[in-house]
Chain length 359, copies 2
Amino acid sequence: MSGDVRRQPAEKPSTPVVAPTSPAVPERMATMMDVAKLAGVSHQTVSRVLNDQAKVSPQTRTRVLDAMRQLDYQPNSAARALVTRRSKTLGLVTFDTTLFGPASMVYGIEQAARDAGYFVSIASIRTLSRRAVLDAIGQLRLQSVEGIVAIVPKDSAVVALSAVPPGIALVGVGVGGGADVPMVGVDNVVGAALATRHLLSLGHKTVHHISGPPGWPEARERATGWREALTAYAAPAPPVLVGDWSARSGYLAAQRLAGDPTVTAVFCANDQMALGALRALHEVGRRVPADVSVVGFDDVPEGPYLIPPLTTVQQDFAEVGRRSLALLMEQIATGARPHRQIHLTPQLKVRDSSARAVA
Amino acid sequence: MSGDVRRQPAEKPSTPVVAPTSPAVPERMATMMDVAKLAGVSHQTVSRVLNDQAKVSPQTRTRVLDAMRQLDYQPNSAARALVTRRSKTLGLVTFDTTLFGPASMVYGIEQAARDAGYFVSIASIRTLSRRAVLDAIGQLRLQSVEGIVAIVPKDSAVVALSAVPPGIALVGVGVGGGADVPMVGVDNVVGAALATRHLLSLGHKTVHHISGPPGWPEARERATGWREALTAYAAPAPPVLVGDWSARSGYLAAQRLAGDPTVTAVFCANDQMALGALRALHEVGRRVPADVSVVGFDDVPEGPYLIPPLTTVQQDFAEVGRRSLALLMEQIATGARPHRQIHLTPQLKVRDSSARAVA
DNA sequence: CTGTTAGCGCATTCAA
DNA sequence: TTGAATGCGCTAACAG
């Protein structure tokens, strides 16, 4: 055997051995062997105190622990992953983490994952195309993630999920009820109905809807909930104004509504669009809620400080994160991919932007 | 040698070999050896086509490539990392990715990292305490990340960065000029001065300031820029109202200003607080910008749709992300940790919330 | 251009 | 309770 000391370069022995820039800093991380040597045990024993917690005498354990500390020992995750075939990392595919919803979920998932002893590797995509999603998943698989949570709330992206080999644990978030992968999301139909009924019960003859863009399950489901509530109240369903989730689109859509004095209630598919709508209404002098009531969806932190404070539908994003993780863990544990769909019930937050219709 | 086929369990040969749930799905991923065998070459050659791109005849290469495809071969990252000592992953420590700023930077960094062929592993922390930061970094180190970007814009967290062993590449984002680690951030002093001078040049006698919370470098620097601009104009410096970045705190602070008719201009340390201030002003009937001008900082996407559209200081978060990554890459390449500080110059976005002071 | 031989650092049998 | 082998899948020297 070649002994135990760090190998010195055989050729060019004239070059100084110590690195010139960082004196006294060990170039190589300490290995389990180093710890073992220092503690006077075999590397096996070190491994045991690292994992088992058992079958090691208290004395040796402390000796080993000391040695670890002394060497600032960091277990090599690659080596461990290689032999255990478990990377202890999860993959997260997300779209535009700049938005409040996705960002909150990422946060929730990440927290839950770390609590469960998992690392999380993120792959944000620029577009929700099938290809982008598949690429991201490919990246994550390269990294040997044990499972993937995909926050890709668009049809084109959802279909990509179906193409993921069944061997890998997978959860879709906000991908709608139509997906054939395990999913968790808020019950958008219920949420939208909640908002619409609230408005209807306030005496409004009908409720107008500024929706999310086509091809987004959540947009579709919210429109459905809105329509169902209208039907339940036997109220006429005005044509939907299509937005794209942005404040700007809400603003533009509401401008078209603002001129019509019969419009007294508007349900927007998210808070950003509601914010834009508030602005459009304000511009033409229609007061909220005196003349028109507005309701949003999401409950962004700024909601209570808009002019006026926004009535909205609250989603528990953190809970969505936790549930996704639980669902993923279940798959990892069982090795199967059950066709489960978890729908969380949202809540209506009534604030000042909605009020009784003027008779 | 023990042959080449997948081992079958020696004991209990009666149990069916195929997994009951997922038929025809290979239990184990294909290895390089499998590919080699199928292609009729050595595993080394497979490795070569995987990395080198060179020294392989076109024919063998295509044969190997075919075999890979056929087997849906995924290189084992753990094995590769073990031998190359490079994980190809970066760590990201962030605080509250729900906020627009951090979220945008995470996005920017992640994109840049992937373009550079790196994976990114995220660790969000709940509090910006020294301990939380150190824990997160510890987690990331366990994962053998090659470098860490820490978005921890608070003093208590910044000091923790100094404690990180010099062996590991590290970049602080938005940690202020006082940090002794490489950092990148926007030039807050300049940005705040820009906003304040804008207001002053509009004829306002002075500018009030709603600041970020104590202990945040960015809050401090923005206050400094504001004060410097005031001094430059020989304007009196009113007492600072301290907020906590939230819309609520901006609202509360502005309420105290709103009653004072001499207040004609307010510079808020971020857009959320400005939003709250807008609301407070509106409540007491003070018109913006006719009576009071308001300027924010960050340029959130909703800014143009507030009532009124918000004048603000725009930061290029994506660029911050890119620069952080570049700085990190430089460290990884050189092995040194240069004491570099990169300050990006922000821009003033003038919209409707600021106007000439009434004479 | 291609194959052979060694480990990378660790966990998992086995023996002692 | 501990130590000695073996191999995870791959890349890095070497040969040929």
